[in-house]
């Protein structure tokens, strides 16, 4: 039996008809390697933004069901155009949307999770020698309701389909050449990583590296599906392979440095020091689906019997969080609440730091030597994050990238410009 390779192409890779023709060539190269090829595709360029704009012109708060009906059309357009491109180059190809295949999700709109993927149609089409092109980002409930998978949805579709088909590998084609030790826009000699573990990639993704959505990495890890991040426009470049840590040779304790400028620090002062108060706060946030990242609770003050809780959230959730925290504050008889978005989260990530002591202290010392004040710290087995002032962010990334010896001799090609700090 032939090996199955799943390829996923993002919106920038299929932004116009010329790019779609180029993508067809990339697919055909993989087919010519003797593999069966299954392709997952996102909506063309700014299609999704355009559809969202139309929706908001009509309804300030459109229903999530109808949003899913609307947005899922974007992938159906790119999928059929890409199939036509393959056919025009003489290859037998067929497109399927999620309803046709049976990419079954929970009955939740705009952020559904995949629960099952039917493979009958896919296997039959592969047996017939066809290249299959599938609409990413979308699913269907057992009742036939159309759902979408939320952010990074097409990556997740691709990994889930690869797993369901027992594919050899899932290639995520994008406009960068792979995963870098840090953002090349900050550190021009950042190195492209040949390999990285699921765990490290997850931490980097959570820490602000935008190359892959954490959900797709989690799914890949769960099914041990090797993932390759590679450039649509440089087929010969092998990109970065993401796989189980047990299969990797680890040379350096730190694999990468990431910055995240999208966090807001929330401080709730003078919370009475009685059991369950913190739980009330965080369960209220969890109920609204707000992810809290770093959390610090101060020691209780002896005199007032109160303490302060500081935590970080994503900017996107700021409005909802303000509302919830102000409500909970009154209930808890807590003191002032403050919000600070002038912060950056700087993280170092590496599976190799598990059995090498001193990594954390090197990080703290490096930041101190650069005159950078650390405002919060959080750690996991393979990650250390420090919250610092936003204006120190690039200085911190450069210093850490250097001290952990992550640079290479070549200068990475830089796409786009850095956002203003």
């Amino acid at each position: 039996m032939k090996k199955i390779i799943v390829q996923k192409f993002g919106g920038t890779s299929v932004a116009d008809t010329n790019k779609i023709k180029h993508v067809a060539d990339v697919i055909i190269k993989e087919k010519q390697n003797g593999n069966d090829v299954v392709v997952v595709v996102s909506a063309m360029g700014h299609t999704t933004d355009h559809l969202l704009k139309l929706a908001h012109e009509i309804n300030a708060a459109p229903s999530e069901r109808e949003l899913d009906m609307l947005l899922s059309t974007g992938e159906c357009v790119s999928m059929s155009l890409l199939t036509m491109a393959l056919q025009s180059k003489g290859y037998d190809a067929i497109s399927y949307n999620a309803s046709q295949i049976g990419i079954i999700t929970e009955n939740v709109h705009t952020k559904a999770r995949i629960v099952d993927i039917k493979t009958d149609k896919l296997k039959k089409s592969l047996e017939e020698g066809k290249i299959i092109v599938i609409a990413g980002f979308q699913g269907v409930t057992p009742e036939g309701e159309i759902t979408t998978l939320g952010r990074g949805g097409s990556d997740t579709s691709a990994v889930a389909i690869a797993s369901a088909l027992g594919a050899e590998r899932c290639d995520i084609y994008t406009d960068v050449e792979g995963v870098y030790t840090t953002d090349p826009r900050i550190v021009p000699n950042a190195s492209k990583l040949d390999e990285i573990s699921y765990e490290e990639m997850l931490e980097l993704a959570h820490a602000g590296a935008n190359v892959l959505h954490p959900r797709s990495v989690e799914t890949a890890k769960q099914y041990s599906m090797p993932l390759r991040v590679r450039s649509t426009f440089k087929y010969d470049d092998k990109g970065t392979l993401i796989l189980g840590v047990d299969k990797m040779e680890i040379y350096k304790p730190v694999a990468g440095v990431a910055q995240d400028l999208s966090q807001v620090r929330v401080v709730v002062c003078d919370i009475p020091d009685t059991p369950g108060e913190a739980a009330t706060l965080f369960s209220s946030l969890a109920k609204e689906n707000i992810s809290v990242d770093m959390i610090i609770q101060s020691y209780a003050r002896k005199v007032s019997q109160t303490n302060d809780i500081a935590f970080t959230i994503n900017k996107e959730d700021l409005e909802k969080t303000e509302e919830i925290v102000n409500k909970v504050k009154d209930k808890l008889h807590a003191g002032d609440v403050s919000f600070d978005d002038n912060i950056a989260k700087i993280s170092i990530v590496g599976a190799g730091m598990i059995d090498r002591p001193g990594i954390a202290s090197t990080m703290f010392q490096t930041l101190a030597d650069a005159g950078i004040n650390i405002r919060m710290i959080s750690t996991s087995e393979i990650k250390i994050s420090c919250l610092i002032n936003k204006e120190d962010s690039q200085k911190a990334v450069k210093a850490l990238h250097k001290v952990f010896n992550l640079g290479c001799d070549t200068i990475a090609e830089v796409k786009g410009t850095l956002p203003d700090v």
Copy 2:
């Protein structure tokens, strides 16, 4: 039980978000009349043309299956946006595509015929008090393949859904106010018809009146579903009601005059006068799905034992017809073939002409008096068509409209300009 009204809105009625909001108001008025409302919608404005352009940039001859996958997205966009508009005005509404409902068609792409419509979901949603918005133009095969219904497809969807639901009436909303006695761009005092029979409407539609596609009228006739053609932008105007001739009062022998400038006249000379020769020609054309309209065969010439056959086809089929006719010509050892597109087909249509003699002679005499040469004639029970030179077309329409006393005292509002002759 409430009465069900099916409303269909075409592409110009939902061309932008403001128009979609207006359409929502029209729907709500019908709902406020105490009726259950099911809406069928076309793609926004030029969406279909845009998608076709993309397809042809990629593949000069895109596969029909993938074209259907592509084009069916257009209606899904307008359907969800219209549903959002209804929701934003406080009405409970839900959209369904053809796959979700089960608008079952034959397994033919780009021009499938509807074979069945499942009504379970629709009835349930109506019971819940919802306004239903359905994507027109599309269907699904029992195997889950997406199909489209071809020209006039959304009208056909609407009529078929109305019939399946046992609706009270199917309203076709468009940018004209109804069916006119002739094109108001030619005859400014053309009258809007209050009523017209299915049969007359069919003949008018075949004779070049573009207001409704013949297929939708055929379906309405088959199920005796009353159809109303009315303006999206003038809700209080009742438009034209199309219904069975048995329910109509017929005052005038002729209901309308139509011109069709899209025909090409084909003449095949010197066909040997042996049995089956004409059949060979027309069966070859039928095999390629080319509709032949008027046919005249000359008497066989005594000396040469040959005759000439003249017929008309649609301009769109010219290329294919040339190919076939030239092939058949050689096989039949026929003589010259000529093609003439400098022609117009002028038709008068009226259920009232059945039992009133003299209508045909009045038509021929009127054209003769106007100095117009008749090149071919064809008749049905309720229609007489004459082929004339294109430059005489408007003169003919004006003269016939006058002689059959079809004008009214008011001048119709004119949309667009006439095509150059």
